[in-house]
Every structure is written in structure tokens, then in C-alpha cells.
């Protein structure tokens, strides 16, 4: 952290926070992360304050995990991080070729964490890791950055909204030809800048607003009972649709406006009496219409 030019690259990211970089695959997240580090320069820059985890990590094939982790960091760090990443003593003594995809990715993350560098740039670090472990790891990273080392920062990219919206304090959005942020995550969540991001955030449909513009519908903001507070009520009929042998969906036909809402779920929860209205709690307002997906267009 000595060179002021280098430091300026990180000035938009505050310490003590997790900074998410979100966008669909192929949106240029990796290119941008490599650029802010300086890996795309000729010759490449390897700033001393940054530890980088590649989206497609390459562990040293002829070293056991323990050997290479100890090459990059000290034994205390290994002891601290290995249990959090659920890497047992047995796994640590294996060669990278003997690990499954998820174990390989956790080992690669361990190798980065033990460097104890102040800026961690993690490119899709959890893509191969199963949900149960993923949230433990994210939660630990959050505690680490907010409580243990508030002088450090983490930049974390993902194309899974679930990875980012609960743990990241700010979000930078990337889509081909579009970039914004970093902004506070709550702000971004209620203001998806494009229909594409609205879908990625989990919004399933839009409803025209009488004053102009549209309200966005999110399955998590729908209630079946009366709800006191800001919101709008939609009249209509419910249907339980089967999409496959085990996958079912809610389908709600609104009478006015003429619109069909569709989201995955278990219609069994509703019981026998299907309500004729739903309430949309405090829907975000956007200036654009969220176009129906292809399956919604087919009758």
C-alpha cells in the first residue's frame, strides 16, 4: 500500500466491507478484475497488497495441498482457515489431482486466504461449492472483514445472485456493454438498472403503474393474506402448473391488468381454497417493462 497510483485503483472500495461484482457469465467480470489488479498489463503487475483467486484456479500439481499452502502462508493461517473451508487433515495431504471439483476450489481458496493480504480479489470463488458450505464460507468471510480485519477488503465476483445479495455491502454490476457501481447493495436491489438485471435479481414480472412506469414483482414480496403497509392488491385466479415430473409452478392470472405471473414453488402450500387475490408488498418502481420470458408467451 505504498504506491499512491496503485492505491487509487482501490479508492472506490471502502475497507471493512465485501464488495460484490455481479453479472451474467461472459459479462467481463474477470477481465475487469484482472484489469484493476494489473494482470493485463505488459509486463503483468503483481501488487503486493492483493491476493487473487482465479475463476479457474491452477493448483501446483506436484505438491500436496498442505505443501503449497505452507509455501504461500504460515502454519497459523493454515490452522485458522482449513477447518472453516472444511478441509480435513486427510484432504490437506492429497495432491490436487486427487480432489473433487468442490474440494479443489476450497483448496484454491485456502491458498489465497493464508497469504493474509489486505485486499482479497476472489473471482467466482464458490461456483463449484455446494450450498451448505457456501453460506458458511461467505458468513465467515463477512465476519472476518467486518470484525477481525476491518482494515482489509474483499472483492467477490459471482454470477449467482444468492452468493452476493446477503453478504456484499456494495455491488458493481457488469453486463456486456453496461457497467455501474459500486453502489450499496440494498439500493441496487430495489433499482435494477436493466430488465436483464431485474430478472437476475429474481423479479418475475412487471405491472403497469397508473402514474406511468412499472412495478416489479418478486415472489418474496407477494403475500396471500392481507398485509398492512405499502403495497398493491392484484385480483385474479390461481393455478398450479406442472412443468415436469417433480417441478411445479405457481401461476397467477391477474384480471386487471391482463397479466400472468409465474414462479417456481409448491402449490400444495395453498391448500384447497385458492385465494382470488394476492398482495404485492412495497414493489420497486422502474421506468421499463419487464418483458415476459419465452415460456410465458406461449399459451
Amino acid at each position: 500500500m505504498t504506491d499512491p497510483i496503485r492505491l487509487s485503483r482501490w479508492s472506490e472500495f471502502s475497507p471493512g466491507m465485501i464488495h460484490g461484482v455481479f453479472g451474467p457469465s461472459g459479462a467481463g467480470k474477470t477481465t475487469w478484475l484482472r484489469h484493476i489488479i494489473g494482470l493485463d498489463q505488459v509486463p503483468a503487475q503483481y501488487p503486493k497488497e492483493v491476493a487473487f483467486l482465479s475463476q479457474n484456479p491452477h493448483l501446483i500439481p506436484h505438491d500436496t495441498i498442505r505443501q503449497q499452502v505452507l509455501w504461500f502462508g504460515d502454519p497459523e493461517s493454515l490452522l485458522r482457515w482449513a477447518p472453516i473451508l472444511d478441509l480435513s487433515e486427510t484432504l490437506l495431504d492429497r495432491y490436487p489431482g486427487e480432489l473433487s471439483g468442490g474440494q479443489y476450489q476450497r483448496a484454491a481458496l485456502l491458498r489465497v486466504l493464508v497469504t493474509e493480504r489486505p485486499i482479497l480479489v476472489l473471482d467466482e470463488p464458490l461456483s463449484q461449492i455446494e450450498d451448505s458450505r457456501r453460506f458458511t464460507i461467505l458468513e465467515t468471510l463477512r465476519t472476518y472483514i467486518t470484525t477481525v480485519h476491518p482494515d482489509r477488503l474483499i472483492i467477490l465476483s459471482s454470477h449467482h445472485w444468492d452468493d452476493l445479495w446477503l453478504v456484499s455491502d456494495t455491488l458493481s454490476l457488469r453486463e456486456p456493454g453496461f457497467r455501474s457501481g459500486p453502489h450499496p447493495t440494498a439500493t441496487v436491489y430495489r433499482n435494477p438498472p436493466t430488465p436483464g438485471f431485474a430478472r437476475l435479481f429474481g423479479y418475475v414480472a412487471s405491472i403497469p403503474c397508473p402514474q406511468g412506469g412499472y412495478w416489479l414483482v418478486h415472489p418474496m414480496s407477494l403475500t396471500l393474506e392481507s398485509h398492512h403497509g405499502p403495497g398493491i392488491t392484484l385480483q385474479g385466479t390461481f393455478q398450479a402448473a406442472r412443468v415436469g415430473a417433480s417441478v411445479r409452478q405457481w401461476v397467477f392470472h391477474c384480471e386487471e391488468p391482463h397479466i400472468r405471473l409465474r414462479w417456481p414453488g409448491l402449490p400444495a402450500l395453498i391448500g384447497t381454497s385458492l385465494p382470488n387475490h394476492i398482495r404485492l408488498v412495497d414493489p420497486p418502481w422502474v421506468p421499463y417493462r419487464l418483458p415476459p420470458t419465452q415460456e410465458e408467451e406461449t399459451p
Binding site: S54, I60, H62
Partner: protein, 256 residues
């Protein structure tokens, strides 16, 4: 059926390719070998080939390994394509032509030759010129093979170690070398076979001190084919074990 066919095909191919070697070994009489061994000139040729070959191989590996790494890692793909095409020229240069050019360059009356003479080095017909000829014959083979070995290794292994704080030297020793070693060993084996068999260039610039290939030529001219064939067996024994041993080592390495 297909596996049996493949086995038969492989056997026929191996027999065809090994035929000259098999004939050579079958035709070699121990008596002839023993007579040849008691001629000081032949023992001298063997020593000359081994000593000059060891020095040449050492020079080729010491210069060629970093050179191959630099070509593979510090140049763009397009410039590597150009350099690969240019390096094919020395690879394909007929050894006799190389010898003539070296004689032209190193002759005692040329600037290079007289400069070397001032340094006390005999520029031609010396161990020095033999080593120069062997290095020139073996170097392109080593460089192109070692270069391909470094290129075939994804740069990400090195980059990720660098970005986690390891120096270039550390990364080369700990990451690059163990992964590229087997390829570099194959390159060294190829260079050794070229060095010990170097004939075209040495016959022009290093008739003396006489190495084994030139000694074979002299034997053929002076004593006829049986002597030449027997000496060839010795050359075979000198040239082949290193490649075969190195190749075996490489497989041994891989299995770990």
C-alpha cells in the same frame, strides 16, 4: 480384432524401424570389437566424443533452457509463430553445409579465427571447433523441443503463484521446472543423439581431434565395411543409452 490388428501393426512397424540396428548388432563380432578396442585411435575417438559431447550438452542445456522459457513466456503468440518458422531453418540446415560455413567463419585467417588465435584458442581442427560444431547441430533440436514443453504448460500455474507473492526465480524453481522437466529431458536426449552422431560439420572443421562418427568414416575408407560397422556399434552404445534412460526417467517421473 482391432486390438490384435493394432498389436500386429505396431510389431511390424517396430521390426521395420529397428532392422538396421538389429543387423548392426547381429553382424558385430566380439573379436572385431576387441581388436578395435586395442587400437589407441579408436579409444581416443570414444573419449573425444564423450568429452566434447558432455561439454556440448552442458552448454546447450544451460543456454537453451532459459532461452526456451523466455521464448514461451515473454513473447506474444504471433511473434512465437514467426520465431518458430525462423528456427526451422537451422534445424533443417544440412550438417555438411553448416560445417562449410563454420570453416569459412572460423578459418585461421578470418577475423574471428585470428581473434580466437590471439586468445590462445585454435579456431579449427581443435576440441573447440568440434564443440562449436556439435552445439550448432544439437541446439535447434533442444530449443524447439524444450520450447514446446514450456508452451504446453498453462501460464496460469505460474501467474497464480506470482500473484500470491512468489518471485520469478521461486516460481521457476518450484512450479515451472518440476512441470516442464520431463519435456526438457526429452529435448536433452534428442540433443545428445544429435551431438554424438554429429558428422557433417565435424568432418569439415574437426577432422582432428577425431570423434567417433569421423573415426567410422576413416575406418570405412581404410579398412572396409566390417571395421566401420563394428565401430558403429560402439557409437550406438554411446548415443542411445542416454535418450533411453532419460525417456525411462521421464515415464518414472510421470507416474508420481
Amino acid at each position: 480384432m482391432s486390438r490384435q490388428f493394432a498389436r500386429g501393426f505396431a510389431l511390424a512397424l517396430i521390426l521395420l524401424l529397428l532392422l538396421p540396428t538389429l543387423i548392426l548388432v547381429a553382424e558385430t563380432r566380439f573379436g572385431t570389437l576387441s581388436v578395435l578396442w586395442h587400437q589407441a585411435s579408436n579409444r581416443g575417438a570414444l573419449v573425444t566424443t564423450l568429452v566434447s559431447g558432455a561439454v556440448s550438452l552442458g552448454l546447450i542445456v544451460a543456454l537453451g533452457t532459459p532461452a526456451a522459457w523466455i521464448l514461451a513466456r515473454l513473447l506474444s503468440d504471433s511473434s512465437q509463430g514467426w520465431i518458430g518458422a525462423l528456427l526451422a531453418i537451422p534445424l533443417l540446415l544440412p550438417p555438411l553445409v553448416l560445417g562449410l560455413v563454420l570453416a569459412f567463419l572460423l578459418g585461421p585467417t578470418t577475423p574471428v579465427g585470428s581473434f580466437l588465435g590471439h586468445l590462445g584458442i585454435t579456431p579449427t581442427q581443435s576440441l573447440f571447433s568440434l564443440i562449436v560444431a556439435e552445439v550448432y547441430e544439437g541446439f535447434p533440436y533442444f530449443l524447439l523441443t524444450a520450447w514446446a514443453a514450456f508452451r504446453s504448460m498453462p501460464i496460469a500455474y505460474e501467474e497464480e503463484a506470482r500473484v500470491l507473492g512468489k518471485s520469478l526465480i521461486d516460481v521457476f524453481r518450484h512450479v515451472t521446472w518440476p512441470m516442464a522437466r520431463s519435456g526438457v529431458i526429452v529435448a536433452a536426449a534428442m540433443a545428445w543423439a544429435r551431438i554424438t552422431g554429429a558428422f557433417g560439420a565435424p568432418i569439415v572443421v574437426a577432422y582432428h581431434p577425431t570423434g567417433l562418427p569421423v573415426a567410422i568414416w576413416i575406418a570405412l575408407e581404410s579398412y572396409g565395411l566390417p571395421s566401420a560397422l563394428a565401430l558403429s556399434t560402439i557409437l550406438l552404445v554411446v548415443g542411445l543409452p542416454v535418450p533411453i534412460w532419460l525417456n525411462w526417467r521421464r515415464r518414472h517421473d510421470r507416474s508420481h
